[in-house]
Amino acid sequence: MLKVRKRIFFTVLILCVLFVPGCVEQKQLEKLGLVTAVGYDLEKKNVIRGTVVVHQFDPMAQNITKMITTTANTSRGLRQGQNLQSNQKLVTGQMRCVIYSKELAKKGVIQLVDALNRDSTVGNMVYLTVADGSAKEIMDIDKTNSKISLGTYLYNLIKQNVESEQILSPTLQEFNHNYYDIGKDPVLPVLKVQNRDVIIKGLALFKDDQYIAELGPKEHFYLKILSDKFNAGTHELGFKRSDFERIRLKKGEHSIRDVYSKLFIDIDSINSHAKLKLIDKKTLKFKVEVKLDSRLLESTEPLDYSNPSSIKFIEKKLNQAMEKDINGLMKYFQKLDVDPVGIGNEYKAHLRGKNLSKKEWREIYKRASFDVQVKNRIVKTGVID
């Protein structure tokens, strides 16, 4: 009898436990306005203008997305202002893309990035980007093109390019990592509106959290080789035609074309491996060794691929050209005082017994010199010889 009573007591307790809760805030998907993209512009001193693209599931509404713009001092303040303009509760859990205007980026973005970090609903795989003009300009695309949701579009645009190894992955996680690392600086892609469409224009170099300069696609390839150890996408190199006279095929139909005044070779790196090494601590000499396994995709003139020695020759030419380019790029970085490759990390790994501050590193970085070596290996030349 006692046992039964205890059982009943226990069951009632469990039922209570089951039915007592219910005070948790519900976030039903269809009642939310899902912020898929955010843009920040600098309005004036102390004031930023925030634009959000909101995805909503209203069966009655014409557009699935909506754009809200407000101004405030902080990103949280913006959120409050935006909420006032929305019939659905704005949430950031599905945010996929953040755009900072160039103007804002020049002043520094870390206070805004930090707000993202602090918010547990924002994922770490959010893409951060810089707008060539103002962020609002990019967001306005959404209005003209109501069929697409801008957040998803931008997300796919960047994701596709990251996956096909065209650009460095610009996630919040990577930005954080590079920003907080003493010996490395973050980079982000630059977006631009062209023909009522958003395109990736180039790469923004950051010094700490401040925009410094923009890098074109060519330099981007080298930066990718230097900082990513997987593969680095395709690249074209131009040479003097006379350099390749020795191995050019001289058959009738392959006579000299006059479209190009130079010879262009396209390679696709299958596998690359960059090694940074501090050779001399005193003179700050770094060795940059790049090993590439590449595929020759295209050359504007018929070259002799069947002969191993001519392949060697092409390889050598490529090496020289790339070494020169990389050297130039490193100098350029040094001049701008940015370190997106992470040379500081390498330096720090050899620094025993003392701490390196960011400021100290910037001083040291100016004095560094580089010895670049590229080892290119053409492994495939396509289905024809």
């Binding site: 069951t11 089951l18 976030k27 899902l34 995805h55 599931f57 209203d58 699935i64 949430v91 599905q94």
Partner: protein, 505 residues
């Protein structure tokens, strides 16, 4: 067979009947509560009265006429002793008695009481005939492959099937008395040198300790002797497949048969036994392995899918990947209820459909399924009652729960979904985990015949995994499952099965 039944006399039953035929008639009528079907036939031969009394509904008329009445009429002489009378009756089961209670009990079971006036006791001859159906295919545990025969309601036939399945001299049928108002004929079945005596003893003790008026079926018997009757999970398994029992017996389990019950109870049956089908043994091991994994995954999904839907749509919208977001959101946009109610409503409809289908005759039942599945589902989506994604999920989880070979376990799994859905509605993922942990502890606490319920997962018995969770090739199953703690561990010598020939030998 001639057996003097004196050993089971008890003090209160110690009452012999009157030696006068007419008084005896009266006594019997009184004891049998004046049944209308009690019949008496008095034969007078050589000046002696011979009374035969029986329940006309229970006996085989032709054998009464042929073997009892005819033999008595032709062969009976005046000076015959009781033993001599017994000699002239060509009946297999005969016993002598003069105890009124015992006689009445035997008459109820279909015996004829033959009393020669003046003798101190009479003879009980068993000529009973019970209504029984012929052997049929198994219904509730349908099979594609393997033996299809199923138990019937008749105990002798069931014993017959089992005996012919397991032709082992050590196969043991043990009668058990249950002190109930309605006497139940119960037999414990086990193979003497395989089954763990502890298991047999547990069964014996728990059954003989029962004090109930009536046990209609082995399923009820199972409920009565389980340890935890509050749990939704069945702890002893009933089956209508004799081959399932035979396999069980040979792996050291103990079975219980009951008269008038078409299912056998057996144990110990831990949790995973309920997901085993005999087909798993008849099929090739790799197929069976795949099917078993399929079943376990199906169960897992069946329990988890709907709560996951509820929790994601109510609380964790963040985890939805971008490609799914639009379709999920738009299908939900028309639905006026919160996801919990939506899910509960649809689960409830599915349960109703299933129940209605089960109660209806087969032909109507099929139409029910179609009506329910297509018409209601489609209409519900069109009317904006539910989202179509939920319909898919609910259908999947219903399907998943039906893959369980045991109907009881399938039902248990469908029932535990409801508290999990409610918890998911309250606390999202945390709620699901709370429910999950609760069921985990609960399963750990259960036992089947005193053996841990989650065996062989806990306590871990690696060698048993090949029997219950996975299915190993037969040559690796040389040991009987340790969960049953068999006395004799080896099924066959392992070495011999593993002997391998060289190439081209």
């Amino acid at each position: 067979m001639f057996k003097w039944r004196s050993d089971r006399k008890q003090a209160e039953e110690h009452k012999s009947h009157s030696l006068n035929v007419d008084e005896l008639k009266k006594q019997l009528e009184e004891e049998l509560a004046s049944c209308s079907d009690i019949s008496f036939r008095t034969i007078k031969k050589d000046g002696k009265k011979i009374l035969t009394s029986f329940l006309s509904s229970l006996i085989d008329k032709s054998s009464l006429d042929e073997f009892i009445l005819q033999s008595l009429q032709t062969n009976f002489t005046k000076n015959m002793t009781l033993e001599e009378v017994a000699q002239i009756l060509p009946i297999a089961q005969l016993s002598a008695s003069n105890q009124l209670k015992e006689i009445v009990e035997s008459i109820i079971e279909g015996s004829v009481y033959i009393y020669v006036e003046g003798e101190p006791c009479g003879l009980l001859a068993n000529v009973s005939k019970t209504a029984e159906r012929s052997l049929e295919k198994a219904e509730t545990e349908a099979l594609v492959y393997g033996p299809k025969i199923s138990f019937t309601e008749s105990l002798p036939i069931n014993v017959n099937i089992l005996r012919s399945n397991v032709k082992d001299a050590k196969l043991c049928f043990e009668d058990i008395e249950v002190s109930t108002r309605v006497k139940a004929r119960i037999k414990i079945v086990y193979i003497k040198d395989i089954a763990d005596p502890n298991n047999v003893e547990t069964f014996r003790q728990r059954i003989s300790n029962l004090k109930v008026d009536y046990i209609p079926d082995t399923t009820v018997l199972g409920q009565l002797i389980e340890n935890n009757s509050w749990s939704v999970f069945p702890q002893l398994m009933t089956t209508e497949l004799p081959d399932r029992i035979s396999i069980g017996l040979l792996s050291g389990k103990v079975a219980v048969l009951m008269d008038r019950s078409p299912a056998a109870l057996y144990g110990p049956t831990p949790f995973f036994t309920f997901f085993e089908s005999t087909e798993d043994i008849y099929m090739r091991w790799n197929m069976a392995f795949f099917l078993r994994m399929l079943r376990l995954t199906a169960i897992f999904l069946s329990v988890l899918l709907t709560p996951a839907y509820v929790s994601v749509l109510t609380y964790h919208y963040e985890v939805i990947p971008s490609p799914l977001l639009v379709s999920l959101g738009q299908s939900r946009a028309n639905v006026p209820f919160p996801p919990v109610f939506e899910a509960l409503l649809l689960e409830f409809i599915i349960e109703m459909l299933r129940e209605a289908g089960a109660r209806l005759p087969t032909k109507v039942g099929q139409t029910m399924g179609i009506v329910g599945g297509i018409v209601i589902g489609q209409a519900a989506v069109d009317a904006g009652f539910t989202s179509n994604i939920l319909i898919i999920i609910i259908a999947l989880s219903a399907l998943g729960s039906f893959t369980t070979p045991s109907y009881l376990m399938g039902t248990a799994i469908r029932i535990i979904r409801f508290p999990i859905i409610i918890m998911a509605g309250f606390w999202g993922g945390i709620g699901i985990m709370v429910a999950f942990c609760f069921f985990m502890i609960h399963l750990l606490k259960l036992d089947s015949l005193g053996r841990p319920y989650l065996s062989p997962a806990y306590p871990l018995r690696l060698s048993d995994l090949g029997y219950s969770m996975f299915r190993y090739p037969l040559e690796y199953l040389s040991k009987r499952p340790a969960t049953n703690q068999p006395k004799d561990n080896d099924r066959f010598p392992f070495k011999k099965a593993k002997e391998k020939k060289d190439v081209d030998e």
